[in-house]
Amino acid sequence: MSNTSENPNPSSSSAKITLKTSDNELFEVEEAVAMKFCTVKQYFEDEKDNDVAARGSSTVIPLPNVHSAVLARLISYCKKLPQSNAVADNHEEEETKKKERKQYGTPGDLVDLISAANYLDFKEGLEFFNQALADHIQNKSVEYVRKFFGIKGDFEPHEEEKYREEYAWAFEGVDED
């Protein structure tokens, strides 16, 4: 990712692609990064096919479902990808990965990131942020998760009682805080 110098060949990896977010901000992104988003890739390739006059790098790709704040974070995640993709073998590595996942903000931010990654069809990102959100939810009591994420417990009291009974084994040994 270090070749920022000017390259005479526009189709090389330093070529830039411009993305336009829902709040009309323009992002100039390296092609290699942008191609990780399959939705962008698809658009880009279709565009190339249609427009043989090939001003590929100057086309602006609109992303009406992605806010600039979210896109900026996705791009910064994308640039860090290579090292975070290493497989975690042992406990220690798993812990560092967990910490790394924690850096991506509040659960609310994560929901936005997941939503955007899903729209952009960005697989690695989706996996990563899904795991980060799963980290947030697990080991928390039902009440906590409901409150934290604004989920409305819409069961009748007797229904909830029944379902809790059904999954009693899952609640054995869970600290109620």
Binding site: P107, G108, V111, D112, I114, S115, N118, L126, N130, Q131, L133, A134, I137, Q138, N139, V142, V145, R146, F149, G150, I151, K152, G153, D154, F155, E160, Y163, R164, E166, Y167, A168, W169, A170, F171, E172, G173, V174
Partner: protein
């Protein structure tokens, strides 16, 4: 005429309200009351009334779909994949969150790890037995995903139906193309029930080509069943079984390229090591106990051909045996050696030095003394 229009609208609202919960309904009644007040005040104000109705509808929709629910932005598929990433226990807890979450968990393809040992310790064996059934069966019955990656469970050999349970689980899992299956049966101390025996007659009804890990503890496997597994699981990497027969005739047809980790124990002392492992070129971890270990060492001259990639070796030997061998076969890739010595009295571990010569890149050497 104007009035009937409002009545019609109000009727619709009423219908709509019937489908909602008590809370939303209360609000409807409240707003509706206000609305009629308004009609009497300004009978001609269509727009305002239409707006109120619209607001009312929106408000009702929102009560259905809690406005602050962060997850409302995400489609169900995403939630399913998030739930898939959690351990079974945590995933199951999410089904209590709300109606939307109730069955999400059942669509996962991930791992179903019934973390038995922890629960067994917590509940004690009797209470555990009682609960276990409904529990595993319940989860499997509700499972909607097309495949299951992994199931880890343990069963207690305690009642007459346990054979049926195990077969039910197995057939369900094999139909769902399970990749990793580990089952640990536990015997009760004061209980004479036989171990479950896995036969080829049972297995041959199912395709096994998805299996990569098969670990069965306290379950016996017939020789034919073992052979069936070995010849029908092209992607098998880890195999750990207890075998019932002597394994004299066990000759897998082709080399078992994928297999990396094998533990087969049997009550007979056939030359399993050579017969079976001769065909496992990529084996990296092996453990031998009792007479196997003895045979392994006795046939050391042939050994390098089939254990040359071995990285981890566990041996259980008596002290006398180990001192009988002055020369160990050389294993150039061995990094971990776990040696369990059955001893009466050991004065010095000097006898182990020959081991260290045989394994040039040994990183870890663990000696356990038992006796």
């Amino acid at each position: 005429m104007k009035k009937s229009y409002f009545q019609f609208q109000a009727q619709q609202t009423q219908e709509f309200a019937r489908h909602r919960e008590a809370e939303a309904e209360k609000e409807t009644t409240r707003v509706r009351g206000r609305l009629f007040e308004r009609v009497t005040l300004h009978p001609l104000d269509y727009a305002a009334v239409a707006m109120s109705l619209l607001n009312l509808k929106n408000r009702c929709d929102k009560t259905n779909n809690f406005p602050d629910d962060q997850f409302s932005k995400l489609p169900d598929e995403i939630l399913v994949s998030i739930v898939s990433l959690m351990p079974l226990k945590e995933a199951s807890q999410t089904s209590i969150l709300s109606h939307r979450w109730r069955y999400l968990r059942t669509f996962t393809n991930g791992s179903l790890d019934f973390d038995c040992s922890a629960l067994l310790n917590l509940l004690g064996i009797e209470k555990y037995c009682e609960k276990r059934k409904g529990w595993v069966n319940g989860v499997l019955r509700l499972h909607q995903g097309s495949t299951i990656d992994e199931l880890r469970a343990c069963s207690v050999v305690s009642d007459k139906n346990f054979t049926l349970d195990i077969e039910n689980w197995l057939s369900f899992l094999l139909r769902k193309k399970v990749k990793r299956f580990a089952l640990e049966c536990k015997g009760l101390r004061n209980c004479d029930y036989q171990q479950y025996t896995l036969t080829d007659q049972f297995l041959c009804n199912y395709g096994l080509d998805s299996l990569t890990v098969l670990c069965l503890t306290y379950v016996q496997v017939t020789e034919k069943a073992l052979l069936y597994v070995l010849s029908n699981c092209p992607f098998l990497e880890v195999l750990s079984v207890e075998c019932l027969d002597s394994l004299q005739n066990l000759k897998p047809s082709g080399p078992l390229v994928g297999l990396r980790n094998v533990a087969i124990s049997t009550s007979y002392y056939a030359h399993v090591a050579r017969i079976l492992l001769g065909n496992v070129p990529n084996l990296v971890e092996a453990s031998y106990a009792g007479l196997y270990a003895f045979f392994l060492l006795r046939e050391r001259d042939q050994m390098p051909s089939y254990l040359s990639l071995l990285e981890t070796l566990s041996l259980v030997l008596t002290w006398q045996r180990i001192s009988q061998f002055s020369r160990f076969p050389i294993l150039r890739n061995l990094r971990h050696l776990n040696l369990t010595l059955l001893v009466m009295d050991v004065k010095s571990l000097l006898g182990c030095t020959s081991l260290l010569v045989a394994f040039p890149i040994l990183h870890r050497f663990v000696v356990d003394l038992m006796g």
